[in-house]
């Protein structure tokens, strides 16, 4: 089986990884700074941004998040290539 992915898969995925990284960093920061309004605003902004990026990614490359809509009526895409350790 040829499991080559287009270069775009990697660049789009890294955009998501970067957005989610900002979300995670702000999560840990807010866990110890729970009243920082500016950090909360930035957290919400990047959470929305990440959701948009993931939606676009899934349209192009199949489900990224468990529970996302399956693109085909007859073929279960979630359990197909690629798993994160295979790319």
């Amino acid at each position: 089986m040829d499991n080559t992915l287009p270069k775009e898969y990697y660049t789009k995925l890294e955009e998501i990884q970067a957005a989610d990284f900002v979300v995670l960093e702000l999560t840990l920061y807010l866990d110890t700074h729970p009243t920082d309004a500016q950090a909360i605003a930035q957290f919400n902004q990047f959470t929305r941004h990440s959701m948009q990026l993931k939606k676009a990614f899934e349209t192009q490359f199949g489900p990224l998040q468990q529970g996302s809509i399956n693109p085909s009526k007859t073929n279960w895409a979630w359990s197909e290539f690629p798993w994160p350790w295979q790319v």
Binding site: A18, F21, V22, E25, Y29, T32, H33, D36
Partner: protein, 81 residues
């Protein structure tokens, strides 16, 4: 403690030496003292990296960035292949 002056995040010491130590002296031993050891509770509004850069550095805030390189390799031959 809030330290604004630049600090060296790698420190060194010279291990004590006896005339009967079999290996040639390593010279200096190195250890890390990363910036979080000097910050205390993080103050608000510290300068951030861009999202792409933050991912690459492993931290959103510039103050925590601490690039690590094998300190024994500088200018010399690697100790291990």
């Amino acid at each position: 403690m809030n330290s604004q002056q630049p600090f060296q995040s790698v420190r060194t010491y010279i291990p004590p030496r006896s005339p009967f130590d079999p290996c040639p002296p390593i010279g200096r031993k190195f250890y890390s003292t990363p910036p979080h050891l000097f910050l205390g509770v993080q103050p608000p509004d510290l300068p951030q990296f861009s999202p792409a850069e933050a991912l690459r550095k492993g931290t959103l805030w510039k103050v925590f960035a601490d690039y690590y390189e094998n300190p024994y390799r500088k200018g010399g031959k690697p100790r291990h292949g």
